[in-house]
Symmetry: C2
Amino acid sequence: MKDENQGTEQRIKDAAKGLFQKKGFAATKTREIAEASETNLALVNYYFRTKKQLFDAIMLETLNELLSGVVNIYSNEETTFEEKINAFVNHYMDLFSENQNLPAFIMNSVRENPKEYLTQFGLLGKIQDSTFAKQFQEKLEKGEIAQVNPINFIVNLIALTVFPFITQPIVCETTGINKELYYQMIEDRRRLIPLWIETMLRIT
Amino acid sequence: MKDENQGTEQRIKDAAKGLFQKKGFAATKTREIAEASETNLALVNYYFRTKKQLFDAIMLETLNELLSGVVNIYSNEETTFEEKINAFVNHYMDLFSENQNLPAFIMNSVRENPKEYLTQFGLLGKIQDSTFAKQFQEKLEKGEIAQVNPINFIVNLIALTVFPFITQPIVCETTGINKELYYQMIEDRRRLIPLWIETMLRIT
DNA sequence: ATTCAATTTAAACATTCGTTTAATATTAGA
DNA sequence: TCTAATATTAAACGAATGTTTAAATTGAAT
């Protein structure tokens, strides 16, 4: 039971993750995974049975990472409402800066099969019971924010944070700006998004 | 040369469009297209040579529709800056309400191959020379808006408009809200997004 | 009615793809 | 060292997929 096992299994998983994220499930071939992981065709099935099971393992791991991040930030009792918005933006801009295909990958996979990947997390409950939700409610009652639909609010926060990563290839291609400059440019959004969001919360 | 030709060709294209938009290029099979269009396998190739050429024809048509919309709105000399923002939001919320898979489809296809589908439109030039750009510049000079990066501004406008359509299946699945209620809920954004955008333009 | 091009169809072709098999190599424990 | 489980490999299988072929049908012009 040397760690060559885990080595091979992990190498396959890593290679598959990269390919699935870039090209999606259907466009990624088992033979590509074998080649990219420097193993062979049979080993992929030896460790993961089927392509779908491999995909699901990766998907679950990725979603867990992603969602536990939200839940941790939202349920922190030590931070203010504003600090949570800041933390959210920074956490996801960090994550997506390192892994630029992640946003589109998640969107697509979950879109294709929302039931399969989301229901099991009990995400809604955790968010509804979170400190963040309570702080939102408090601010509403104190009149510090306007009567905004909380779904609009959350969608806006995610949209402003995530969307620039999804559109990067499009913007870079049409404008001719190179990737590095683009990512450098959207760094400023770490500061701006919380400001934007807070003023948006005052508009009815 | 009866219009059965155009009938068949169009029927194939329509069926293919629906499938490509829902499942993407790789996951859509030529046999599905044949079946969905109530034709047969060979006819698909008779009219479009290859699956890729069929896809490209659809893609080009779709992009043209989509982008000519932006260009028309941006280059209108009769409308104010604020009216253009309004028109943009309404135009795309109309379009995507009718065709709910469109946003994700465009994002993905263009992301996968930005050069192939975007460069030929000369989009950047048309936008840079548009009345919208001039009006933006004027407002900047008059001090009516802050020194904001125009790319951040455009990305925000598109993000706030498009993103709710991309996340619809995710939000509905996690919250339990049904589709109709969701779309009804985001209708309010037609009014809100222009307000949001205008206040965002005053933040440095 | 005949002709000829355009259209439609059924069948087949050649690959590719996901998966399995069976044989070989490696490792750890007795 | 021997054994048995685990890991790796090459080859093959069967189904699916994109595309082509060749024959049949249709429709309009002569």
